[in-house]
């Protein structure tokens, strides 16, 4: 008990810092048209490569400077967050539902179900993920739904492997045997007895996966395979920033910082949530 309380106290700032950043970024993305200081697509060659506000030559209203076409960087980051979060939530949830379901079935039922699912996972994991993603998007065609689908198709195995192992461990526990004796059906036991015990892991993985989805989306838009419209994406901004790194470093650095903070926050948030969901640690 005491030990658990200590862990909880130590974890708390992590939860609040990570959650705070995510909330801030999420709200900014949702209310982008209201909070973005400029139109993210408006080009003005008179204002190209303005530095961020604390450097000489900065213009008021362009807090983080502008890119080589004179577009406001902060506004582009805020609008880019919309796509990042949509992809993060949709892809992670899709991967989670597919992977956790298969993992639960493989781990709890064992036998043939486990053998088939585990072999598929083994084969799946033999593909290099980023190349696989690029290949999938090339086949599915660019666009938001293709990106989401590609990430879900690649990353369900993460959930499957972990949840399988956890469900397998839980299934050997006496309380599962007790439920069998009491006369519960197999599916009922899987959902009522085993599932609640793997929920903390699912939550942690889900949050981690959101961070991974943000990275994959950034990679795809970096190689220009994400969404094909003009909407700004973090990966796209990074790709543009790379070209003008010597003239305007901020176009590369700020989206990178945003990306890193977001991905880090997702993983930390997940870990902290896991302990919250676990009655033994709570």
């Amino acid at each position: 008990m005491d030990e658990a309380r200590i862990i909880r106290r130590r974890l708390s700032p992590r939860l609040w810092l990570a959650g705070g950043w995510l909330l801030l970024a999420l709200l900014a993305a949702i209310f982008a048209p209201l909070v973005a200081p400029q139109d993210p697509l408006a080009q003005d060659l008179m204002l190209e490569r303005l530095p961020p506000f604390w450097l000489d030559g900065a213009e008021p209203g362009y807090w983080l400077g502008t890119d080589s076409l004179g577009r406001d960087l902060l506004s582009r980051l805020i609008f880019g967050g919309r796509i990042a979060f949509i992809v993060a939530f949709a892809a992670a949830i899709a991967a989670c539902v597919v992977g956790s379901t298969l993992g639960l079935i493989a781990g709890y039922f064992g036998g043939w179900a486990d053998r088939i699912i585990s072999r598929i996972v083994d084969i799946w994991m033999a593909f290099p993920p980023v190349l696989f993603a690029i290949l999938l998007v090339a086949v599915l065609g660019t666009g938001l739904s293709s990106v989401i689908l590609a990430i879900a198709i690649i990353d369900w195995t993460r959930f499957c492997r972990v949840i399988r192992a956890e469900a397998m461990g839980q299934s050997r526990m006496d309380y599962v045997e007790n439920a069998r004796i009491a006369g519960y059906g197999r599916i009922g036991i899987m959902l009522r007895e085993v599932l609640p015990n793997v929920v903390p892991s699912i939550v942690a993985l889900l949050s981690l996966e959101m961070g991974i989805a943000v990275i994959v989306e950034a990679i795809l838009s970096f190689v220009n395979l994400s969404i094909s419209t003009d909407d700004p994406t973090w990966g796209g901004i990074i790709a543009e920033g790379r070209l003008s790194i010597h003239q305007a470093w901020w176009v590369l650095v700020f989206p990178l910082i945003t990306l890193i903070l977001t991905v880090l926050s997702f993983s930390q948030f997940g870990e902290a949530l896991k302990t919250r969901f676990d009655p033994v640690l709570r």
Binding site: I181, R192, P279
Partner: protein, 292 residues
């Protein structure tokens, strides 16, 4: 009136053909405590699991039948068998740490079974569970019902499990070394509780243990098991007064005594074990001939 549990000639094998139960026969009368005693690996727990229908998938029953209050478990379709076992039996497990679901509160875990499997109303189930908690001398049922398993001590958890086992009024309870995982002072209390509830409810118990001292205290009948074979079945009083099988005698001699704790510590006699090995080899030979 038919016996509560009647096991006849039960044999089980592992995947590699090794026999783990060797033509086991035993009968538990209604309201009787029948102890299954033997060393670890003798197959005591296996018999309990076979009765409850939760043998590991590596163990296969190849012969014999089990009747629960006259119903032949082997002849029932799986679903009807599960329902019958669920309604008429319960388990008091060995390890109270793993026998409760760690992520669910005690209350719902106890009432769920009554409501979902036996179709009781929530109120009736709640009342029943509180009554049973009172019988196992839990004085603050409100707190316990709201607790998660890890918030209770081992002894408390075992009380909860005993209450849960008796709650559905089963005809037969399999108690699988229910005191082994507990410390010595708690063991006695738990044993007394099981005995008291058993008398009160008139439930038959198949009591699996390796402890002859426990056998003497709680049971009316004993089956002594060695290597999956019943070497002696007798009334408890008769067994202790005049054990017939040399292995039983040897087992009794091996039990430490308080008067001379160290002098009395001796392993089971070698010649007895050699005799047993021969007995089992002969039995296996005889068994294999018709079974290929």
């Amino acid at each position: 009136m038919s016996a509560c549990l009647d096991i006849a000639n039960l044999s089980a094998v592992l995947a590699n053909g090794q026999r783990v139960l060797r033509s086991v026969s035993l009968t538990v009368q209604p309201g009787e405590v029948h102890a299954l005693v033997g060393e670890s690996g003798a197959g005591k727990t296996m018999i309990g699991k076979a009765v409850l229908g939760v043998l590991p998938s590596s163990v296969r029953i190849v012969e014999g039948d089990m009747r629960l209050e006259g119903e032949d478990l082997g002849k029932l379709p799986p679903k009807a068998r599960r329902t019958l076992i669920g309604a008429r039996t319960a388990l008091i497990p060995q390890d109270p740490l793993t026998a409760l679901n760690p992520s669910r509160r005690i209350g719902p875990q106890m009432t769920d079974r009554l409501v979902r499997i036996l179709g009781w109303s929530g109120d009736k189930a709640d009342k029943r569970v509180r009554q049973l908690l009172d019988e196992v001398q839990i004085r603050d049922p409100d707190r316990v019902l709201k607790s998660y398993p890890h918030e209770l001590s081992g002894g408390m958890r075992q009380r909860v499990l005993i209450a849960a086992a008796f709650a559905a009024e089963p005809r037969l309870i399999v108690a699988d070394e229910p005191t082994t995982a507990l410390d010595v002072t708690v063991q006695k209390q738990i044993l007394r509780l099981i005995a008291a509830l058993q008398r009160e409810h008139g439930t038959a118990i198949l009591f699996v243990t390796h402890d002859l001292g426990v056998v003497a205290k709680i049971s009316q009948k004993v089956s002594v098991l060695y290597a999956g074979k019943v070497v002696e079945e007798a009334e408890t009083a008769d067994l202790f007064a005049a054990p017939r099988h040399p292995y039983t005698r040897s087992l009794m001699a091996a039990t430490p005594r308080y008067t001379a704790p160290f002098a009395s510590l001796k392993p089971v006699d070698e010649t007895v074990l050699a005799g047993l090995a021969a007995e089992i080899a002969a039995a296996d030979q005889a068994w294999r001939r018709p079974h290929g």
